[in-house]
């Protein structure tokens, strides 16, 4: 049951072969079984999920399903507000906070009838590429429990890769959906900026954040994307236009024909700094797309070399301001300073923020505060915005020559837990290929491209499309997925180790 895709589960529900309660219970059992080792979840809501499942079954029985995915359970990254369910953003400072409202994405999942299994682990406030910066302990990669599952949405990717959930929601500010997808052998989509409402998504960097699907197949992502996407009056940056037909595009692509599609290989996103096995899998994917009828062109995006620097000015600047609200005055952690009698509000704020934020969060608050300071603004934040415009222009020029752009999603396969924890720059380099899309607001998907020869770990290929052309991701992604599946004979995740037979790890902090 748990190895079925969301589309297969939806079909089984529609055919009356199973019930949502049965499916939901199977996933809750799986979570109980393996999450001690994986630690994908920060909070599991068995009771709530089963109640939603029972309601879904009633709708199915009455012949009035709320959506195609009615009754298919899902996991939600802990950065989205869920009414009545704890929302911590992986931070100590929000420990115990229970939002009084639902994020729009969550409200749409509920409307569509998807039972919410729980909230998934993440780097604190989505700052990181390994999920090691979670205040509640790291998530482990189901392919190798000593390795990172990517980040910041390692929890969502690991939950899907470990068959703890058929679907999950992630958020992507610089690659936090796509990079975990690549290193766990799953599919992750960052929609066009403004394509999915950010209302209720606790902002890391407002101008970069997007929520999106985390799944095991391209079709499942399309199905989920159609549920969560579309205009929301509560988010003024959401686009007031109907979504293109994504499921149709995925089904069209799965037929395997890419005739007439121009694939642009981005010169700047490959080569030096990329693992040989990752590059080999990427080249193989490009070859398969050509075999399916696509035309390959090389495109150059010279400004992309400045993307990482630009990102690490814009992101901390916005984050430093967003995180100011965590001040112990209204919700979350409150720490009284030890050494002060009758502390003032400012002293309580200081003590709380000191105790409640982790080192990476503090590092970025300091960076952002500096970048926005009077006298430095023009040189840092102002300059970064100009480079951002140049990056958008590079995309525009590239999309004149190609319908989609492709690159490896992440430069390497999953590294070992702790390996890059003391080297922030090495950690930041993981997002080299994914960041440009966030800076320009264009959509991207990561599709598993196979296992790197040297370490047997999954790699991903990234496909990027122009803003609002998310359907192209699904068409090309599904075609590539079909070609690879034909070559592999079975889904990539079938090659992952069997978690049931692994030693239970006790060292995972909960």
């Amino acid at each position: 049951m748990i190895r079925r895709t969301a589309a297969e589960l939806a079909d089984a529900l529609a055919a009356g072969e199973t019930t949502s309660v049965e499916i939901t219970r199977a996933h809750l059992d799986r979570i109980a079984e393996v999450d001690g080792a994986v630690h994908a979840f920060l909070h599991v809501d068995a009771e709530g999920a089963l109640a939603q499942a029972a309601a879904a079954d009633e709708r199915r029985a009455a012949g009035t399903p709320a959506s195609a995915l009615d009754g298919v359970p899902i996991a939600v990254k802990d950065v989205l507000a869920t009414q009545g369910l704890p929302t911590t953003c992986g931070s100590r400072i929000l420990e115990g906070w229970v939002p009084p409202y639902d994020a729009t994405v969550v409200a749409r999942l509920k409307q569509a009838g998807l039972p919410i299994l729980g909230k998934t682990n993440m780097d604190e406030f989505a700052m990181g590429s390994s999920t090691e910066h979670s205040a509640y302990g790291p998530t482990h990669n189901p392919w190798d429990l000593d390795r990172i599952p990517g980040g910041s949405g390692g929890g969502s990717a690991a939950a899907v890769a470990a068959f703890e959930a058929p679907l999950a929601i992630g958020t992507d500010t610089g690659g936090s959906i796509r990079q975990p997808g690549a290193v766990t052998g799953t599919v992750g989509v960052k929609p066009t900026y403004g394509g999915v409402s950010r209302y209720g998504l606790v902002a890391l960097a407002n101008s970069l954040d997007q929520a999106g699907p985390v799944t095991r197949t391209v079709l499942d992502s399309a199905l989920l994307h159609e549920v969560i996407g579309g205009h929301d009056p509560l988010d003024s940056t959401s686009i007031d236009q109907p979504l293109p037909s994504l499921v149709e595009a995925a089904r069209h692509g799965a037929a395997g024909d890419l005739t007439g599609v121009r694939i642009g290989v981005v010169k700047e996103l490959g080569g030096e700094g990329y693992q040989a096995g990752v590059l080999a899998r990427f080249q193989e994917s490009v070859d398969l797309m050509v075999k399916a009828g696509a035309e390959v062109v090389e495109v150059s995006c010279p400004s992309f070399v400045h993307a990482l620097a630009t990102y690490y000015l814009i992101l901390p600047a916005e984050a430093s301001s967003n995180l100011a609200k965590f001040d112990a005055m209204r919700y979350g952690l409150r720490v009284l300073p030890d050494d002060i009698e009758n502390p003032s509000a400012e002293e309580v704020m200081r003590a709380t923020r000191d105790a409640g934020f982790g080192d990476e969060v503090k590092r970025r608050i300091i960076l952002g505060t500096y970048a926005l300071s009077s006298g430095y603004y023009d040189a840092y934040y102002g300059q970064a915005q100009k480079v951002r415009t140049l990056i958008s222009r590079d995309f525009a020029a590239a999309f004149e020559k190609a319908d989609v752009l492709v690159s490896p999603t992440a430069p390497t396969t999953a590294f070992k837990l702790g390996e890059k924890l003391d080297d922030p720059i090495a950690m930041y380099l993981n997002d080299l290929a994914t960041i440009p899309a966030n800076l320009a607001g264009v959509p991207g998907i990561s599709v598993p491209s196979g296992l790197a020869e040297e370490d047997g770990l999954p790699a991903g290929v990234q496909i990027l499309a122009p803003a609002l052309a998310d359907d192209r991701l699904y068409r090309v992604g599904a075609a590539l997925e079909a070609a690879l599946l034909e070559q592999w004979g079975s889904p990539l995740l079938d090659k992952a180790p069997d978690l049931d037979k692994l030693d239970r790890r006790s060292g995972v902090s909960r």
Partner: protein, 503 residues
């Protein structure tokens, strides 16, 4: 704290030129807040008009109130400003418990309206009206903060308080901040120009109908910037910003005080500290607002959760068509209609009574009667109570009715003042008060005749003078009768009776 050394006002002007700047915050009267749907009514139970957005809960997002943008554009147009074709909101970052997000969503270098002016009417040395042009730098949109209530301690201020409470009902209420360019060349008229500017701006806001415009409730708040430069030097000095000057009279007083204080500091050879100062209504002085005086870096940057505001030119033109009559032109028209002298008109405007007088005339009083009551009696009472004229519990309709009672001979001016006492004490309508207090004039010859006889008997010398033809002496006898009748006698009839009896 040592007392400030104050230089007499006239002496300040012998040696210095003042530069004035005014920042006025106008709280809009939109039904909902600037960035969410919460209601904006004044005086609700604390923290009942709040939602995830105006409480700054994690994940919540702002959406711009279109009505507030409309009001901002109308204010900008009425101030002869350019309206931006494209502008953005910006975050002003600083920590304070009454700011839910620890940043205020405001506008920084891209205000909705800019480069305007307002012609302020003030008298010149000869006493004639003159127009003084105040240049407007910008008018921008922002959200209000919550309100802190400091409990315990004597002053209600944060120092010495046992604990503080915060009411977020006000957080997110739309504000328009209107900033002037430095006002130079005002000389000795700086205090009255400042007052006239705020008074006229308030009138304009009232005419636009975009705010309750109650200074006593804080729906209009003025900050006064002032600096002095050595006379004729043309070099701007260091300025101070005096916050929350919340009545027209205080605007004038605060400018006057700061001019005297700055001169005192400069005379001593010290430098003016660039700082925020607090105005104290009771003592009429300013004190240093140390808490926020350290040069703050607000780290402004464009609000990434909001899309730019880009009002179409068609909309702006449509809004231009909704503007009320320009108050300066309206004043000229009313002055001609009412037959007021420049001085009378100026006093009326200066007292903040133009609208009241207009409404009183509309309710039936003559222009002179309306002016008389509001500028003498009502102004004195408002002054004593330390409130604006509009805050008195006397309406233009009341004043018109009181004057009608005088005109009908039912009461006289002296009794009218007692009616106003009754109105202020909440005793009912003018007619009810006349009735309840027994204030009607006695014109019955029987009662009056007896009193006149008593007065003649008690003042034989005066009676003789009148008999000798010195009719002017009758005043003394009228006074005696009025005293006996406790002011409720019909003075005209008393005079007639005296002259009849002594002819």
């Amino acid at each position: 704290m040592t007392a400030d050394i104050l230089v007499p006002f006239d002496e300040v002007l012998e040696r210095f030129d003042p530069a004035l700047g005014l920042e006025v915050h106008v709280e809009l009267n939109t039904a909902s807040k600037m960035f969410c749907g919460c209601p904006t009514e004044f005086g609700a139970e604390p923290n009942t008009q709040v939602c995830p957005t105006c409480l700054g809960l994690p994940g919540a997002m702002p959406v711009v109130n279109g009505k507030a943008v409309e009001s901002a554009i109308r204010i900008g147009l009425a101030l002869n400003c350019e309206i931006a074709e494209w502008c953005r909101f910006a975050r002003k970052n600083y920590f304070y418990p009454d700011m839910p997000k620890n940043f205020q969503t405001s506008q920084y270098d891209e205000p909705i309206a800019f480069e305007g002016f307002m012609d302020v009417t003030v008298p010149n040395e000869g006493g004639d009206d003159e127009t003084f042009r105040v240049e407007i730098e910008r008018a921008h949109m922002e959200e209000d903060t919550g309100k802190s209530l400091h409990v315990g301690g004597a002053t209600g201020r944060i120092h010495g308080a046992e604990y503080s409470l915060v009411d977020y009902n006000r957080a997110g209420i739309p504000l328009i901040e209107i900033v002037t360019k430095p006002i130079l060349g005002a000389g000795d008229r700086a205090p009255e120009i400042a007052k006239a500017y705020v008074a006229q701006l308030r009138e304009l806001i009232v005419a636009l109908g975009v705010s309750d415009a109650r200074m006593d409730q804080g729906s209009i708040r003025a900050d006064v910037n002032l600096s002095l430069s050595p006379k004729g030097s043309g070099v701007l000095g260091t300025r101070t910003e005096t916050k929350n000057v919340n009545s027209l009279r205080s605007v004038e007083r605060a400018v006057r005080y700061e001019m005297s204080r700055h001169a005192g500091v400069l005379d001593e050879g010290h430098k003016i500290l660039q700082e925020t100062r607090h105005w104290h209504e009771d003592t009429g002085i300013t004190t240093s607002g140390r808490e926020k005086s350290d040069a703050e870096d607000y780290r402004y940057f464009p609000e990434p959760d909001l899309v730019p505001v880009a009002p179409s030119r068609e909309w702006v033109d449509e809004l231009r068509g909704t503007l009320p009559e320009n108050p300066t032109q309206k004043r000229a028209r009313l002055q001609a209609e009412w037959g007021f002298s420049d001085l009378e008109m100026r006093d009326t405007v200066g007292a903040g009574a133009l609208g009241l007088v207009e409404e009183t005339i509309a309710a039936g009083a003559t222009p002179q009667a309306a002016r008389k009551w509001w500028l003498s009696d009502m102004a004195r009472r408002a002054n004593e109570a330390g409130v604006e004229l509009t805050a008195l519990a006397v309406t233009p309709i009341d004043v018109a009715r009181v004057q009608a009672l005088v005109d009908e001979g039912k009461i006289n001016d002296k009794l009218a003042r007692q009616v106003f006492d009754g109105l202020l004490a909440g005793e009912g309508t003018p007619d009810e008060i006349v009735e309840a207090r027994g204030l009607a004039i006695v014109s019955d010859d029987g009662a009056l005749g007896a009193a006149v006889d008593n007065a003649i008997a008690a003042n034989p010398d005066v009676a003789d003078k009148i008999r000798d033809g010195k009719v002017a002496a009758a005043g003394a006898l009228i006074g005696a009768v009025m005293k006996e009748m406790r002011g409720q006698a019909d003075a005209g009839r008393v005079r007639e009776l005296i002259l009849e009896k002594l002819s």
